[in-house]
């Protein structure tokens, strides 16, 4: 049984990861057209979603989506839904992985082959996402406790830099009164989607009770604002257009004076690579379990058959990532943007579905 603090870890992980996950790109593209409004509205929506979802899922203590759906929905429908969700989770991990391969090639080792890098990531992720949920949560906590101080150090360093241009930031805030658009809304809410991992990890939470949900809102909002505004402060309101991985370019502009390592980029890269690997492990663990739930049969299978099943699912996931390796940066960006939007609608759908399940369960028990 896990303590509630691991839920905060899941949430924190997702909101920190959004710095690399196409979110700043999409927001900055709309910096003169309602990104700030979307951030505010997204925060409200996001916090609301977190609250509703956690309250609903707490009614099913120790149960993941497969158990809930199989007991409350028609068999065929449950399987189809689980299959769709598994796809969503798999893509969520895959997108992070792909963007990190691109970042690695661009910033760290331009000489190495992209396939070597992606295969080394895949080997790690595939081995680790077969661990049990509790171990993954422990690992997530360890990695967060190592990377969070580094990330905070990076942020403080970024904000205290005398060359940080506050005027650009102020200029962007003057574009506040624009109506929000769907793309930036779905990008902004991604920062809050960490709660969705409860779909599987709820199995180890018994009676999840959250205190101070507003903290999550404040945290999400501040991360979003930092994500959006700090790169603008560094590159200016217009020149920011030219950067794809805005945050890595930002980190590369920061210099540490009193340290063996001089460039912030490497600290940032280390922190974010380890965090994203864990996030991919978390997502794929979710995807794996959901897919296993979708194709599970009633009769108990031997451990060997179970292992074969897991490895073939992971092989499928890896094949998906490898087949998307051919995409160039522009296509990848489009893909990420599509994913962000579909994800947001999926989120709403999941909450509605869970509400339906909750109603049905309550009617059944009455």
């Amino acid at each position: 049984m896990a303590k509630s603090r691991y839920f905060y870890c899941l949430f924190l992980m997702n909101s920190l990861i959004n710095i690399i996950n196409y979110v700043p790109r999409e927001l900055i593209d709309r910096r003169f057209a309602g990104a700030l409004t979307s951030i505010l509205i997204g925060t409200i929506f996001g916090t609301l979603f977190v609250y509703i979802f956690t309250v609903l899922i707490a009614k099913f203590p120790g149960k993941g989506f497969p158990e809930i759906f199989h007991s409350l929905l028609p068999k065929k429908l449950a399987r189809t839904l689980l299959l769709l969700f598994a796809g969503l989770w798999c893509v969520a991990g895959g997108v992070t992985l792909l963007s990190f391969v691109d970042i690695t090639l661009r910033f760290i080792s331009p000489d190495s082959s992209p396939y070597t890098v992606v295969i080394s990531f895949l080997v790690l992720v595939c081995i680790c996402c077969r661990f049990d949920s509790l171990s993954i949560l422990y690992g997530l906590e360890i990695i967060l406790s190592v990377t969070l101080p580094l990330i905070i150090y990076g942020l403080v360093k970024a904000l205290t830099n005398p060359d940080f241009n506050w005027d650009s930031v102020l200029q962007v805030t003057t574009y506040f009164w624009h109506k929000p658009d769907l793309m930036s809304l779905s990008a902004a809410t991604f920062s809050f989607s960490g709660y969705l991992n409860l779909a599987i990890f709820n199995r180890v939470f018994h009676g999840l009770k959250l205190k101070h949900v507003w903290i999550l809102g404040v945290e999400g909002l501040s991360v979003l604002l930092l994500t959006f505004l700090v790169p603008i402060g560094y590159f200016g309101t217009v020149a920011i257009d030219r950067h794809v991985y805005t945050w890595f370019s930002t980190a590369d502009s920061i210099r540490m004076e009193n340290f063996i390592i001089e460039r912030m980029l490497f600290i940032f890269y280390f922190a974010y690579l380890s965090l994203s690997l864990v996030s991919v492990i978390v997502h794929w663990h979710g995807g794996l379990e959901l897919l296993k739930g979708a194709i599970s049969s009633v009769k108990k299978q031997s451990p060997k058959a179970e292992r074969w099943k897991e490895w073939s699912i992971l092989g499928l996931f890896s094949a998906m990532v490898l087949s998307l390796m051919g995409l160039d940066q522009y296509e990848l960006n489009m893909f990420g943007a599509w994913f962000l939007q579909i994800r947001w609608f999926g989120e709403m759908f999941i909450i509605a579905l869970l509400f339906y399940c909750y109603r049905k369960a309550r009617r059944g028990s009455l």
Binding site: S4, R5, T104, S120, Y138, I142, I143, R263, L273
Partner: protein, 452 residues
């Protein structure tokens, strides 16, 4: 009664038959005017002094066979009703078979050749108790009971090993121990089938079945105070006769970096020492890998002055840095192993020859860089900061994994390996207990009134 005696009579013949070929088997009959007794024992395992003082002299002094019979049967440690197989076992372990009044009993005259209580050698600390466990289980139990005077300290004994018949004692504090751990341990111990069991390390290997594991899941210690400290924390201790080590389980990753000094020192000093150990482990694990990354893949990570310094020291080195590191690390491992096996008188010579002369000559010849030598010695020294030998050996092996990852993939490989290592640690369980996680955060929650 007569049937039983018949069985015993048969058994005497049978026993002699079984022990045929024992040159040190003594078979005597003591005859006195008031009766006679038969003595059968194995000279090499039975204590002659106990025999003459407690068995033979009273026989002649008492002058009454029935009183003598009572004396023998009520003597602590005497066994009476036994089966044939048990009789053989008792004789082999040093009991004396006494035949009087047509009945048999076994008198405990075990001869234990043991060294006395010595000082700790593998886990020495600067202050605090310095006695080590001995090779005799009775003395060990005495040392532990004396330090843990509580009725809650329960003990179970069993015999393991078809040939060696090693006595094993399982100790635990019944109010603090986790019953699941105990049940799992008992199940594993009962299914254990071995011929010879001589060392605690062997037993540790048998009870934790996973053959691919690299990290120890239970502490093997020679310190009675560590055993007692762990018993008080709800752990189970296993003592083995004929070895001076105890097993403590379940043990988590953190336990292996705890020295018994930490309790004695001032709190801040203790924390500092612990921090030193953690830094030491990180250094010994990752320094070689980082060196390879910095020289072969990403020299731009560090300051340009440092990068120039390193590449300057490597100017004469004719091969990639991975080969250089591997070469020197292997040299270092050879030195460590050699100085361990060498007789004590030659040991220091080997380290001097190896460490000083070889290191100096290797840099002078241009085979390795100067910085490399510093790095290798830092790795070697920081490895010895780990208080428990088993863990320090595991860490010694593990650093090569990181080194290979760095050689193949540079920084990416190192980060992937670090994450993998953290996840691997978190996935380990020691008898159902999580092996590695942020335990101190649990306590943090409790202090705030158990909010989580």
């Amino acid at each position: 009664m007569s049937v039983q005696q018949d069985k015993h009579n048969v058994s005497l013949e049978w026993i002699k038959d079984q022990l045929n070929g024992f040159a040190d088997l003594i078979d005597r009959t003591l005859v006195a005017p008031f009766g006679q007794i038969d003595l059968l024992y194995i000279k090499s395992v039975a204590d002659g002094q106990i025999l003459s003082r407690n068995v033979i002299t009273p026989f002649y002094e008492m002058e009454n066979i029935n009183a003598y019979h009572n004396y023998i049967t009520t003597y602590p440690g005497t066994e009476e009703e036994t089966t044939r197989e048990k009789a053989i076992e008792l004789l082999l372990s040093g009991y004396i078979l006494l035949g009087l009044n047509d009945t048999f009993c076994f008198f405990d005259a075990m001869n234990r050749e043991i060294s006395g209580v010595n000082e700790t050698s593998a886990e020495s600390i600067s202050q605090g108790p310095s006695d080590a466990l001995t090779e005799d289980i009775a003395i060990n139990l005495n040392m532990i009971r004396r330090r843990y005077q509580s009725t809650n300290l329960k003990m179970e004994t069993m015999v393991i090993g078809d040939v060696s018949k090693t006595k094993v004692a399982i100790l635990y504090d019944i109010t603090r121990v986790d019953p699941n751990v105990l049940a799992e341990l008992r199940e594993k111990m009962n299914t254990l089938k071995v011929d010879i069991l001589q060392a605690t390390g062997e037993l540790e290997k048998f009870i934790s079945s996973d053959s691919l594991r690299i990290l120890p899941k239970s502490i093997v210690t020679e310190r009675p105070d560590r055993v007692v400290f762990n018993l008080s924390e709800g752990k189970v201790a296993i003592l083995l006769d004929t070895t001076g080590y105890a097993i403590v389980l379940p043990s988590i990753f953190n336990d292996f970096f705890t020295s018994m000094d930490d309790k004695i020192q001032l709190p801040i000093v203790g924390r500092f020492l612990k921090l030193l150990r953690i830094i030491g482990v990180c250094m010994t694990l990752w320094l070689p890998a980082i060196y390879v990354t910095l020289t072969a893949y990403n020299p731009e990570i560090i300051r340009v002055q440092v990068a120039l310094l390193i590449s300057g020291s490597r100017a004469t080195v004719p091969y990639p840095s991975f080969v250089e590191v591997l070469l020197m690390l292997m040299m270092m491992e050879f030195l460590t192993e050699a100085s361990l096996r060498l007789p004590k008188a030659i040991g220091p010579t080997a380290t001097t020859v190896g460490g000083l002369i070889l290191g100096q000559a290797a840099t002078a010849a241009g085979l390795v860089g100067n910085i490399m030598i510093i790095l290798v010695s830092a790795v070697a020294i920081s490895n010895f900061l780990i208080p428990l030998n088993m863990m320090s050996l595991s860490i010694r092996v593990l650093k090569y994994i990181f080194l290979f990852a760095a050689a193949f993939l540079g920084l990416v490989g190192v980060v992937v390996c670090v994450v993998g290592f953290a996840m691997y640690l978190c996935n380990q369980r020691s008898f159902g207990q999580p092996y590695f996680r942020l335990f101190f955060l649990d306590n943090l929650g409790k202090k705030k009134g158990g909010e989580h």
